[in-house]
Symmetry: C2
Subunit: 226 residues, 2 copies
Amino acid sequence: MEDIFQETDLFEGLSTDQRDKIIKKGFHQVLKPKSILFQQGDPAERFYMVNTGRLKLTKLNEQGKEVIMRYIGAGELTAAITSLKDWEYPLTAESVEDTEVTGWDKAGVLNMIETYPKIAINLLNIVLTRIDDIQHRYLELSTERVEQRVARTLLRLMRSAGLKKTEGILIDLPLSRQNIADFSGTTLFTVSRTLSAWEKKGWIKSGREKITITAPHSLVLFSENA
Amino acid sequence: MEDIFQETDLFEGLSTDQRDKIIKKGFHQVLKPKSILFQQGDPAERFYMVNTGRLKLTKLNEQGKEVIMRYIGAGELTAAITSLKDWEYPLTAESVEDTEVTGWDKAGVLNMIETYPKIAINLLNIVLTRIDDIQHRYLELSTERVEQRVARTLLRLMRSAGLKKTEGILIDLPLSRQNIADFSGTTLFTVSRTLSAWEKKGWIKSGREKITITAPHSLVLFSENA
DNA sequence: CGCTCTATTGATAAACCTCAAATACAGTGG
DNA sequence: CCACTGTATTTGAGGTTTATCAATAGAGCG
């Protein structure tokens, strides 16, 4: 798999040694698939970085309806600044596969920043990227039709978890119709119908919790113009 | 008007003197109503703080459909960290009334942070509050019905721009049905119908570009339970 | 092989948008 | 002060999109 980071690495500008030193100080944790790392509403004690595997970040509303805010993989952070304030986690983090994370508490972050000020800048960059992303998605949710949003969701997942295969690009995580719906702001039925249509067109191939994008370009065109 | 800030003040923890000194170094600008301060896509040279008046922050999609991301008033910031990177403004800022702003460029911010490190922390807090807010709204947009979202929009505006009057709380900015629609992710027609219904129930009183909330409690109940 | 979870598909209904037409309102210039 | 003009708003009719519900089929696992 290629090393594509959509955002600044937390350790950008630091040497491998410095990086290793910081990681050694962190709190390491291994998660089986479908384990909860932390839950929306819990006091935010630590922030985490994913080493391997993948986390699903979700938010629940009062009626218990779930929305997927994002999936994060190797090198990406969650709850980065929430843990700096004495706040509650604004969302729930759950592993979707075998996952290893490193966590630091408030003192750890402050220490880290003090020793390597560049980290504060990197943090700001990461946060800015997040705001940009969520604002973009807000705009899409507000102005675009369901099928278009589903297309964008698949493309996002492809970029962050895509694995090149002979038939196309496999989205390398267990992904149900319900997951796609929660990520796109629709229902699993609509997603199912949409994917069936795309499969007939030859744009994708799909199985149980598995999707391969066979015609990315068509999907991109559709997501932008339809 | 009361001094209600939903977010940390940029100058929290600083003395009035220090605050004044920083403000004096800024770039001051006076805007007539409906002036553009900066436009989505322009290179982000400065970030701004509102002194008096109010800015509308909007984002356009490729098809030219507009979404209102937020209104900001006295003490609030926009483009805070975008200007730190050499990026483009991700949205457009337009005054909705006579407005005075102070701006600082990248060098100004860095200088500010160096002299008063507390400002970096305040910045992080502000950014965090923003992320929280936009994620909340994303959840709402994704899971709630139009009328509920309109109710939430009115309540948000009430909290940030409410002015106590004898009949109720006036939202103190020129606010068309279209504006409310752009803020709630719907159309002006649906907003109009909704407001008419609420006016019949006695929850609000409305005129041309003007809305007074006469029964805030009912609206809150509705926004949470319906 | 049977159990459970996921996915498909169809029928129906609800929510909401689009478009058209009429009306109300605020300012402007005579 | 009044008519005029340009917006803003209201309301109705009709259509589209999408959700909901129900029933069935398929996949994986012990």
